[in-house]
């Protein structure tokens, strides 16, 4: 997140405050304005996140179970799918 926000903030600050005279399409990176550069920041976040996830240990099993449980809105039982109807159960 820090990587993406640093890149995005730096780009915006440069064109909006530091050098506003250069804030023209001809000077933008690939024609992307400061208003749209957040998308590139997000992509940078994604790439870094992928790299970090490959070189760091997996989260604990309970967290993996949490993610697995959230991914599927239906409860899985052996051999059949059971719909979770009691949504008022807190968690």
């Amino acid at each position: 997140m820090i990587a993406g926000i640093t890149f995005t903030t730096g780009y915006i600050v440069y064109f909006k405050f530091f050098n506003p005279g250069a804030n023209k399409p001809a000077n933008w990176w690939f024609g992307i304005s400061p208003e749209g550069i957040g998308t590139v920041g997000m992509i940078i976040n994604f790439v870094l996140m992928y790299v970090v996830s490959k070189i760091t240990p997996e989260p604990p099993q309970e967290i993996q179970d949490l993610v697995e449980r959230l991914r599927y809105p239906v409860e899985r039982t052996t051999g059949e799918r059971k719909i979770s109807t009691d949504a008022r159960r807190p968690y």
Binding site: I12, V67, A87, Y91
Partner: protein, 516 residues
């Protein structure tokens, strides 16, 4: 009855509705205060989400933005509605399945880290406070424009109303109030839009009237018989070319820039905390996705009318004002001259109002209090050298629209009530995020985990009250860079740590760890 009297009546009635709803929706548990006891029907949640999302910016400013930007303004329409597609597909049902109360709580559990929870709640509070500053200021501006009340007094009145239903009812009170506010804002927006669409094109659906041809009655209103039978957008393109503007339908931004801005707005919208928490309030997991769909439907009702309102207002404005002698200027022009939203400087002394590219003067009009030889309000601004003699604020495209169309006073007053509904509904949602972040995430989650439910509810109410007061102060003493900070808040929401790993997990089926 005058516009001011009608406005007081309609605003008074709508405020009474909000207070009655708040009294009947009192929250007596944390489940009710944070998540409305998860009893909100998806359709009602969709309406509340629509009102929560559509602030004064959507109601007042967006049509004006589009009327000046033309095709490029469509990036706001696509981005802000596209975010709901992301919410429905990638976030809402998974959050509802998680089942707790707040986004920082999810972050804390998912990353098994109190630090992550604290970072997330700081982000949520920062986003919400910067956003709510603009809303409270918008409430004050609407009061000053329509009710001749000082802006700060309007802010205080708005604070009192929001204080009542946010502190008393929490999410439950805010939700049902937002449903009422949605009804008011959509009626207030659509009635003038439908009326003008019928006047200009004989089509009662504004979105279809946008693509229709000018009727005989429309040509008469535009004071140009040659427009009859021609498509509205063709007429507008022709007008733009004649005046030296780019064609209305062509746009100036590179397409790659439009694409990246749309994506940024989509992701930012999907990451806004006051929108995300709305999906904790529905009974079932499938209801979360359904309510996102309903929210999109209710938002689209306004968002498809906005470009039509923009085009109608732009065409009407240029045709009835450009090259018209000031003595024959429409009455709405003279009515709004004193508000600072429109001004004319007779650069060449011919008494005829000329509109064109470029600024008529530097900055916003600063009136001297004197009038010119034709009775126009004089300004002390530096006059620019270009041909354009008219300063026009973008907000006037919605605020003055009913007057431009010569609608009855009660409809003009309804626009004020609708603008207030839009601003107050969003402000309430943002204040709830701040309240929940303080009471549930900071106090209960980090500092005082053994706090009782009664204690937590007290902290929630105090947090809401404190947030209302601080938001009101932001409205009375706004930071000079509100617009830029709101844009930064959107950017921060889009990079909100929650969104990316959820999307990542959806794509790769492997949880990520926190070290990044």
């Amino acid at each position: 009855m005058s516009i001011t009297t009608w406005t007081w009546i309609l605003v008074g009635v709508t405020f009474a509705i909000y207070i009655i709803v708040a009294i009947r929706s009192r929250a007596v548990s944390t489940g009710a205060f944070y998540a409305a006891e998860r009893t909100i029907h998806p359709v009602l949640n969709g309406m509340a989400t629509g009102a929560d999302w559509m602030s004064a910016a959507s109601f007042i400013s967006m049509a004006g933005l589009i009327s000046f930007m033309g095709r490029d303004g469509s990036m706001y329409l696509m981005g802000w509605t596209g975010g709901y597609v992301l919410l429905a597909m990638l976030l809402a049902p998974y959050l509802r399945k998680y089942g707790k109360f707040t986004v920082p709580e999810f972050i804390g559990d998912r990353y098994y880290s109190q630090s992550a929870r604290i970072v997330s709640l700081v982000c949520a509070i920062f986003i919400s406070f910067t956003y709510v500053a603009g809303q409270m200021r918008g409430v004050g501006v609407v009061f000053s424009r329509f009710l001749n009340v000082p802006i700060n007094t309007g802010v205080v009145i708005g604070m009192c109303i929001v204080f009542f239903y946010a502190v008393l009812g929490g999410m439950k009170g805010v939700t049902y109030t937002q449903v009422a506010q949605y009804c008011i804002l959509i009626i207030a927006y659509m009635i003038p839009a439908i009326y003008i669409s019928i006047m200009l094109t004989n089509n009662p659906v504004p979105a279809f009237g946008f693509g229709s041809s000018i009727s005989a009655g429309g040509a008469e209103i535009l004071q140009d018989a040659s427009t009859q039978g021609r498509y509205l957008l063709d007429v507008l393109d022709g007008i733009h070319k004649d005046l030296g503007f780019n064609e209305y339908t062509s746009g100036v931004r590179p397409k790659i820039d439009i694409f990246f801005i749309v994506v940024a707005l989509m992701v930012g919208t999907a990451g806004l905390p006051h929108v995300i928490i709305r999906f904790f309030t529905v009974p079932r997991i499938r209801d979360a996705r359904a309510s996102a769909g309903w929210a999109l439907f209710f938002i689209v009702l306004l968002y498809t009318a906005a470009p039509a309102v923009a085009a109608f207002a732009r065409t009407n404005f240029i045709k009835t004002v450009h090259n018209v002698h000031y003595d024959h200027a429409p009455q709405w022009f003279k009515n709004w001259e004193s508000t600072g939203l429109i001004a004319w400087v007779d650069k060449n002394g011919d008494g005829i109002m000329q509109y064109g590219p470029g600024k008529a003067m530097t900055g916003k009009p600063k009136y001297t209090g004197k009038t010119g030889k034709l009775g126009q309000a004089m300004v002390s601004n530096i006059i620019t050298n270009g041909p354009n003699e008219i300063y026009i604020d973008r907000d006037i495209m919605v605020l003055a629209n009913p007057e431009i169309a010569r609608l009855p006073n009660w409809i003009i007053a309804l626009v004020a009530a609708g603008g207030l509904a839009a601003a107050l509904s969003t402000a309430a949602g943002l204040l709830l995020v701040i309240s929940a972040s303080i009471s549930h995430d900071l106090m209960k989650g980090v500092l005082m985990p053994s706090m009782s439910e009664k204690g937590e509810l007290l902290w929630a109410r105090c947090g809401a009250a404190g947030a209302v007061v601080i938001a009101g102060l932001f409205g009375i003493f706004p930071p000079g860079f509100v617009a830029q900070v709101v844009a930064f808040a959107f950017g921060l929401a889009g990079l909100h740590p929650f969104f990316l790993p959820s999307l990542w997990e959806f794509l790769t089926k492997k949880p990520t760890s926190m070290e990044q």
